[in-house]
């Protein structure tokens, strides 16, 4: 039988910041490799609440040129750390409704552990470093830029005062 996957160049990568719907299966195809026994996929979606407030959608903005450069750096780091066959990652910008995919990552490896570790690493570094911002639109008609550093401060305060987070 003809193999479904053609060999990728070792350590190959694909990154993009796009303004259209993400194609998860497309990313899985990009990282497919005959030597891979595992492909790990992470998909981030727009959630309908944040900190107790009903959300109707999120407007994502990026410093696109820097975001693609930084995403490439993150994916390269993951490839070196975990020895993946291939990694593909895309982030979407623009207005996304509840349930739409904002970020998708696929990583292939001989074995599952490293494949999962690679996708985990990429999403955590995206959260930390990628110059992308989101403005949540709430059911009450208001909108606000999300500031994770403020959430951390709130969480720290709650922890210090013994409140449950």
């Amino acid at each position: 039988m003809t193999p479904l996957a053609l060999a990728v160049a070792p350590g190959s990568t694909h990154v993009a910041v796009v303004d259209h719907a993400l194609d998860v299966n497309g990313l899985v195809r990009i990282v497919a490799d005959p030597g891979a026994g595992a492909t790990s996929v992470f998909v981030g979606t727009v959630r309908d609440t944040n900190e107790g407030r009903p959300v109707i959608g999120i407007d994502y903005q990026a410093y696109a040129a820097m975001a693609e450069r930084e995403l490439q750096a993150i994916v390269d780091e993951a490839g070196q750390r975990f020895g993946t066959r291939a990694i593909a990652a895309e982030h979407r910008v623009g207005f996304l409704a509840i349930g739409e995919i904002s970020v998708a990552i696929a990583a292939s490896h001989e074995r599952r552990g490293a494949a999962c570790d690679a996708t985990r690493y990429v999403i955590e570094q995206i959260k930390r470093r990628l110059p992308v911002w989101k403005r949540e639109h709430y059911a009450d008609g208001t909108r606000e830029w999300v500031d994770p550093t403020r959430s951390v401060a709130v969480l720290a305060t709650a922890t210090e005062t013994g409140a449950s987070a």
Binding site: A62, Y63, A67, R69, L130, P131, W145, D147, P148
Partner: protein, 80 residues
């Protein structure tokens, strides 16, 4: 020299535009540029030490900035 500083998201909203131009002496550092933006009406719109990118990479505050560098202030990121 004049440096154009790119603004995004909450910072762009706070200034009402996507970039501000500031004047700086040759040899100015990232810290000098931030201080200039704060002095030119940004003090109440920016945190004391916003993240800065030069030529699309995060840059330390002691980095020297030249006239053809692309400088941007980076609000707290919230991707994913």
């Amino acid at each position: 020299m004049t440096i154009t500083v790119l603004l995004f998201a909450s910072y762009a909203d706070a200034f009402g535009r996507g970039a501000v131009a500031v004047s700086a002496q040759p040899g100015a550092t990232v810290a000098d540029i931030v201080a200039r933006v704060r002095a030119d009406g940004g003090a109440h719109r920016l945190p004391p030490h916003p993240l800065v990118a030069v030529n699309r990479e995060y840059a330390p505050y002691d980095r020297i900035v030249t006239a053809d560098d692309e400088v941007a202030l980076i609000p707290p990121v919230a991707g994913g």
